[in-house]
Symmetry: C2
Subunit: 162 residues, 2 copies
């Protein structure tokens, strides 16, 4: 069982929410991430950013997504039963993330249904919400994930990879 | 002017496409990224991944997104005129990205309209498509970005940050 008490598809039900904890955002990490993946001035250059559209350095939305994902992997979709993600709908970054911010992540199960074509798994639709220390939303998305069903005692539903 | 010849909102028109070039995906980078942001076994552990649902190590979708973003920043939305992104719709990872893959990125302008509330900018909706060396799609999304309009000769439309 994972630390969250959530492991297999059967452990998830629509309406269930989870606090996935929080993470602090460091200026050096913002710059390092953005130099590699998203080198826009307001992500990599504090001086240019101060005169830029956000009045200061902000994290790449992809960096925010990575930080949020880490909390979700550690607290929601168990690595031992995850079968990956199709993608996300309506990914939004409604407010900037700035150095020193602390982000808190909540998830809510929107839908949980068995796969029709692959009996070893279920499909979860999950609302992801992250907010900063002032309660302002900084990321929102609906994630679509595959997750293993609980193996039968005889191991019949172990599927590939068990 | 940016390297792409695209700088301000006026340079973008619906239907326009751009080849944003390609990037190779390295196993060590896949593992390094995933250890930080997405430590699921099929992203961080080649041995466990070989017996896992994808029959081998695959990149985190967030890593793929970062690699794709870098090509877009370098070849499409000019850093000098970008005013950030609201987010993306229908982000999908239809096929896994594996070590040694080479991803090629194309973008297509779906919509370009002036902001009603903020005269210094336009709003671009852009279809992002990435495929691997075998022509298989590995990422698709619609991005929503703000971008500066071309400054008037007198600098009237410079807006904040100019």
């Amino acid at each position: 069982m994972s630390a969250s008490g959530l492991t297999y598809f059967e452990d998830y039900a629509p309406g269930m929410t989870r606090d996935c904890g929080s993470v602090s955002v460091d200026q050096a990490e913002i710059i390092s991430f953005a130099r590699q993946f998203d080198p826009q001035p307001f992500h990599v250059d504090p001086v240019a950013a101060a005169d830029g559209p956000f009045g200061g350095l902000i994290a790449s939305g992809w960096h925010t997504a990575g930080l949020v994902m880490r909390l979700i992997v550690d607290n929601y979709v168990s690595p031992e039963s995850s079968l990956g993600s199709v993608g996300l709908d309506e990914l939004r970054w409604p407010n900037p993330v700035r150095p020193g911010d602390t982000l808190r992540v909540h998830v809510t199960v929107l839908e949980a249904r068995r796969s029709q074509s692959k009996p070893d798994r279920g499909i979860l639709r999950t609302l992801i919400q992250a907010e900063n220390q002032d309660g302002e939303p900084v990321m929102r998305a609906t994630s679509i994930n595959f997750i293993r069903v609980r193996p039968a005692p005889g191991g019949e539903h172990g599927g590939e990879g068990e």
